[in-house]
């Protein structure tokens, strides 16, 4: 059986093709001006890589903040539900999932079957999401992907007071003027963001094992700061940005199986 999940993220669209419970292919595209079109293209590419045709796909489910914009799908699933399902599939011991995307951050509590029990969201504030790192990288004139490795070189913490992306930029500029070294500033950025995420996760409560997914999970600087702040081990899958799409594909497979019974 082949199913697919499409995660209509604000910045990037992720597609996972699932074949008999295994990931057969992944696809990615920038959301851009026409997210529906971008999703179609990413889906086509992933199908090609999986050597499958559209007709062979039993069910396609969309998730992500732009899920309502997806065309030619069989339905939608919540991001929290998709996160929970994917986390337990990847790590059966997972009970808490933290998902940090470009503009959203959330934490989900789940049971051993990957069913979502409770969740918290970082609503209405960009300070705990990927945007924060992007904005600070710009202020620091460093490439986004260099931020993490840079932060790991920091010898000490040099805290910034930022609870807000806009103020964070001013704080970074102040540190630059004070001739603070770039690694220390990069570390300060990740520490500030980890603070924000940690206070969100604590509202939910931390039940191990804790899985970290979403595009920001690829940033070693953030992972290190969050690990330090939460004081727990973080399980991070390969391709953490595909967790939402994987969850949607897994839920699609469950629905097909359910219907067959």
């Amino acid at each position: 059986m082949i199913t697919a999940g499409i995660d209509m993220g604000i910045q990037t669209i992720k597609v996972v093709i699932l074949k008999d419970g295994e990931v057969a292919a992944r696809g990615k595209a920038f959301s851009g001006f026409e997210p529906a079109k971008a999703a179609e293209q990413a889906f086509e590419q992933a199908l090609k890589d999986a050597k499958a045709s559209r007709a062979e796909v039993s069910q396609v489910l969309a998730t992500g903040s732009g899920m309502d914009m997806a065309t030619n799908v069989d339905g939608t699933v919540s991001m929290m539900g998709a996160d929970a399902k994917a986390a337990v599939y990847l790590f059966p011991s997972a009970r808490t999932v933290i998902d940090i995307g470009a503009e959203e951050a959330r934490a989900v509590k789940c049971d051993d079957k990957g069913i979502m029990m409770d969740f918290v969201l970082n609503e209405r504030c960009a300070a705990g999401a990927g945007t924060f790192i992007e904005a600070m990288a710009r202020a620091l004139e460093v490439k986004l992907e260099e931020m993490g490795p840079l932060a790991l070189k920091a010898e000490r913490a040099s805290p910034i007071n930022a609870t807000c992306v806009i103020f964070g930029e001013s704080d970074v500029v102040t540190l630059i003027h004070r001739q603070e070294a770039k690694p220390e500033i990069a570390r300060a950025v990740f520490d500030a963001m980890a603070d924000r995420v940690s206070s969100m996760v604590h509202r939910l409560g931390i039940t191990p094992d804790v899985v970290l997914v979403g595009g920001v999970a690829k940033d070693v600087g953030f992972v290190e700061s969050l690990r330090r702040k939460l004081g727990v081990n973080l399980l991070i899958p390969e391709n953490p940005e595909y967790a939402g799409a994987l969850g949607a594909a897994l839920l699609a497979a469950s629905r097909v199986k359910g219907a067959q019974k």
Binding site: E103, R124, A126, A135, T163, V165, H177
Partner: protein, 301 residues
């Protein structure tokens, strides 16, 4: 139509200025005091003669608070014939108040704004909305300008002057015109749903793509920010008379919407360019007034 070049233009940049009231003279006066308000975005200094504003300056805060304090203080003195030594007492206030080198004492901007509003508008002022570069404050005071309660939001840029600068840049509208522009619409649109400035930017870009005019987008954003400010005022308790201080007091789009939501008119704005009663200088003026009281106390009267 000829396009005006926008590349490299700094739409957020507001006018720095200084002023000396030439009809006043300090020659025979006793107590000359100063207030230096180093805000996160703007630095203000006011020189007072016997408790009356004589000269003042407003400029952008640089990356170094002591430097900004010194610059704005020197600028306020420029053209007055006064020397720093002529100033009997100086109070530092604002975000950078502990970094005002010439200050004899630092006092919070909340106390200074209440005192300054009392000076500018008189003893009937009870509620002050102070919208600075990096925070929003709602202050309640008594008839002497003494603070009785206050609430502050400094965790988020929504509604602050800094947030407005970001929007002026995004929409490419000079900051000093955004109030007028936000009111130049036929019908008030629904407010933007995101209060976070970073998200509101994304939302605004989406609305522009949908074909909304800049004016309409600005109106929707200004409305959302005004709702935020009005909520803060309501939480502290609105009592007339009501005034707005800080840089955003000059944003007519904000002030008129806050009035509209609260159902209360603010006291009329003084003619600040002539009279010496610029609401953006309320904190510095309040600091200079408090400096006079402190000086008199130090002299034993």
């Amino acid at each position: 139509m000829k396009e005006t070049p926008t590349e490299g233009r700094e739409f957020w940049r507001w006018q720095e200025y200084h002023r000396v009231l030439s009809d006043k003279s300090w020659k025979n006066k006793d107590i000359i005091t100063a207030g230096v308000d180093v805000g996160s975005v703007g630095s203000k200094a006011a020189i007072m003669i016997d408790g009356e504003v004589y000269s003042w300056a407003v400029m952008r805060t640089g990356s170094n608070s002591p430097d900004s304090a010194k610059k704005v203080f020197d600028w306020a003195l420029e053209g007055t014939g006064l020397k720093p030594n002529d100033i009997k007492y100086t109070v530092g206030t604002g975000y950078g108040r502990v970094n005002v080198p010439m200050a004899n004492k630092a006092i919070t901007e909340i106390a200074c704004h209440a005192k300054g509003a009392n000076y500018i508008w008189g003893p009937s002022v009870r509620t002050i909305l102070d919208v600075g570069g990096q925070d929003i404050k709602a202050i309640h005071c008594d008839e002497t300008g003494r603070v009785t309660s206050f609430l502050m939001n400094d965790k988020c840029a929504a509604g602050t002057g800094r947030g407005m600068e970001v929007f002026a840049d995004l929409l490419q509208i000079p900051i000093e015109e955004i109030g007028k522009v936000s009111l130049s619409i036929d019908e008030e649109p629904a407010p933007v749903s995101c209060t976070c400035v970073a998200f509101a930017k994304t939302e605004a870009i989406g609305l522009l793509r949908k074909g909304w005019t800049k004016e309409k987008v600005l109106a929707a954003y200004t409305r959302a920010m005004a709702i935020r400010m009005a909520n803060l005022v309501n939480r502290v308790g609105l009592e007339r008379e009501f005034v707005v201080t800080g840089g955003q007091s000059k944003n007519t789009g904000i002030v008129s919407r806050v009035e509209n939501i609260l159902g209360v008119k603010t006291l009329p704005m003084p003619n600040w360019r002539e009279s010496g009663l610029d609401p953006m200088v309320a904190g510095a003026a309040g600091a200079a007034l408090l400096a006079k009281t402190l000086y008199q106390k130090s002299q034993g009267n």
